[in-house]
């Protein structure tokens, strides 16, 4: 399948969790072109799904570890963003829109092809044992997700707006399972789930670099379009991200202001690659 238009690729510098999520939400609301965005985190950040409760979190432990906490515009469960490739992908709605299942499958195939290019071979048959009650994204594999030896290697969630669909994806290179598990009240349980259910790509291929995986993803996502262009944020997107910044700066957990407060002055002025 090929979509009309050129895929814009953005590479943002390290930003706060609030700013990263405000930028993704702005893509969903006002972007007009298909966009693949890669981004980094100023410091390790725990992101929660849009409607995920906070009752499973160990807030004092999160604070002691110095983690920021942010809520995503997409669904799903918690992810600790540290050593990983983080991306978002916005696809304009098109004339009739696309079902979210169709698009999950599309993104899944693109990621599998990217991993194959890096000599990492995902399972052909979905075989993992999901921990349905787990608060951690990487302990739960659904049929549209990607596993290697039954262990999840990429977390992808979606939001649908009037203008199109936004995907947010996390692909761990390494996983500090205990640090991740300590974010929750039931640490040992989540740790066991992550041991059994999740894998970082560098645990499969130790020499894999972030840059090489990003290059492969750009190539494979680009095959869905008529071309690829490295671009930058436009004025309207950036202004909307600034407006949304306050909404995403609102702490999902009481007392988190001390450990995850946004910088004064709002959004950083760096518009990424240009």
């Amino acid at each position: 399948m090929r979509f009309q238009g050129i895929l814009r690729v953005l590479q943002d510098p390290p930003l706060s969790g609030h700013e990263n999520m405000a930028r993704d939400a702005a893509l969903l609301e006002v972007a007009e072109v298909p966009t693949l965005r890669f981004f980094l985190w100023e410091r390790p950040t725990l992101s929660l799904g849009r409607h995920q409760g906070v009752e499973d979190l160990d807030i004092s432990c999160i604070a002691a570890m110095g983690l920021a906490v942010v809520r995503r515009p997409t669904g799903g469960r918690a992810i600790l963003h540290e050593d990983e490739v983080t991306f978002s992908f916005f696809l304009p709605r098109g004339e009739r829109g696309y079902s979210h299942r169709f698009l999950y499958e599309l993104v899944r195939r693109v990621l599998i092809a990217s991993f194959e290019d890096a000599d990492i071979h995902p399972d052909e048959v979905f075989s993992s044992q999901p921990f349905l009650a787990s608060p951690a994204c990487f302990a739960l594999s659904l049929p549209h997700e990607i596993t290697v030896s039954g262990k999840k290697v990429a977390g992808v969630a979606q939001a649908r707006g009037q203008r199109g669909n936004l995907f947010e994806g996390s692909i761990p290179l390494t996983l500090d399972r205990w640090r991740f598990a300590r974010c929750f009240r039931e640490k040992e349980k989540v740790y066991a789930e992550l041991l059994e259910g999740a894998l970082g790509l560098c645990e499969i291929r130790g020499d894999l670099s972030r840059e090489s995986l990003v290059a492969r993803m750009v190539g494979r996502f680009g095959e869905l379009f008529e071309g690829v262009s490295w671009g930058s944020w436009n004025e309207r997107e950036f202004e909307r991200a600034e407006e949304l910044f306050r909404e995403y700066a609102f702490s999902p957990i009481a007392g988190e202001e001390k450990i995850g407060a946004p910088q004064e002055g709002g959004l950083a002025k760096n518009r990424g690659s240009g």
Binding site: H100, V156, A157, A159
Partner: protein, 124 residues
Amino acid sequence: MHIPEDLLYTPEHFWVRKEDGTALCGITDYAQGELGDVVFVELPKVGAKVRKGERIGDVESIKTVSNLYAPLSGEIVAVNEALREHPELLNQDPYGKGWICRIRCEDEGEWSTLLDASAYRKLL
């Protein structure tokens, strides 16, 4: 897929039933089927003034958050509180127990912008 003939529809897959000057609204059978198992519903606030096409809430299913858009302008006068505890009602009974909200409409002219069942069917 069930599309009742006595309801009106929006291209965003909302159904609307006119009752005593208010609009009872929910998502269509097609929409709930596309969404899959709904695990969370964010409802609009009672008393809120909304414009047609404005985001009034969202639903989450299979890690996907899908926005809900007001089918008509007016005031939200009731929401289906049962959905907070039982979001699965959206899947089980989208035209009945899975209703989402009731809007007191402020612009009668907007009713003519809604689709009848035949026109909605052609969209799918």
